[in-house]
């Protein structure tokens, strides 16, 4: 797993790639919660996520709930087919805001 953090205006974009599993999900959790904690909008770019397990999904849910409490933007962007299948299995595709691109997400305000 690898990640890259960048900013666009007042939004933080966290691009995740590779396998998000029990080994790497603590790091994902940490970077997402840190980004959300900065009180900026957060977009999680997931086009290069090849695998995500329940621990990775839990990290996304925890960050999402933290953002909701802080009333800040939190959305997923360009979710890979592999990751989307898992989100659908957990019916979280109906919970998260999901956009096809960062541009679209920013235009829609998340």
């Amino acid at each position: 797993m690898a990640y890259e953090v960048r900013s666009e205006g007042d939004t933080t974009i966290v691009a995740l790639s590779g396998d998000i599993d029990l080994e790497s999900s603590p790091q994902v959790r940490s970077v997402l919660l840190e980004s959300v904690g900065a009180k900026r909008g957060v977009l999680v770019e997931m086009s290069a996520v090849s695998y995500i397990d329940s621990s990775g999904v839990a990290s996304l849910v925890e960050a999402y709930q933290s953002a909701r409490r802080g009333r800040t933007l939190f959305a997923l962007v360009a979710v890979s087919e592999a990751a989307m299948r898992v989100l659908e299995l957990a019916r979280l595709d109906q919970v998260f805001a999901i956009h096809t691109s960062v541009t679209e997400a920013l235009a829609d305000g998340g």
Binding site: D21, L22, D53, S54, V57, A58, V61, Q65, R91
Partner: protein, 165 residues
């Protein structure tokens, strides 16, 4: 989670303190495909996923079928690491993959204290919160999921069966 089988799968445990376990004696049915023993550490799960992927590919599974098997086995191993061994990195997990007619069976063995199977339930999906999805994923990804009765004091054995599609 699935049905509980009364099948006995007693193995040999030799000595005290550091028992030598001979899982080869277990009466699993089917043609052996692959077997792996790993320490109960998250960093080894990628090896398990790779082995399951290879086994699925070599036995004519579709990509979706392979993905589902990989997820079920990965989640089951996670449960062993997190719950059965409670995070102890020195436990041992055996993953045994076999061909049974038009199915692939995977047995996951551990040497932790026996788990209370009645407590293993998926949480309602409407209750959105971190965690608790592993059991749901396993149930959704395989055709059969059952605990075999382990030999006294030698842990747990989870049997997963996936029909080849």
């Amino acid at each position: 989670m699935g049905t509980k089988s009364g099948k006995s799968n007693r193995g040999n445990v030799d000595g005290a303190g550091s028992p030598h376990r001979r899982w080869d004696d277990f009466p699993f049915s089917g043609t052996p495909i692959a077997q792996m023993r790993i320490a109960s550490r998250p960093e080894f799960l990628r090896l398990v996923r790779a082995m399951v992927t290879e086994a699925g590919d070599a036995n004519g599974c579709t990509g979706e079928c392979v993905s589902q098997m990989v997820m079920a086995v990965d989640e089951a191993c996670q449960n062993i690491i997190r719950h059965a061994y409670g995070g102890d990195p020195d436990g041992e997990i055996v993953v045994d993959i076999r061909r049974e007619d038009d199915c692939i069976s995977i047995h996951l063995l551990d040497f932790a204290a026996p788990v209370d199977v009645s407590t293993i339930k998926p949480r309602p999906l409407d209750d959105v919160k971190p965690g608790g999805l592993g059991t749901h994923f396993i149930q959704q990804c395989v055709d059969e999921c059952s605990f075999l009765t382990p030999p006294d004091g030698t842990g747990n054995c989870l049997r997963l069966v996936k029909r080849i599609t």
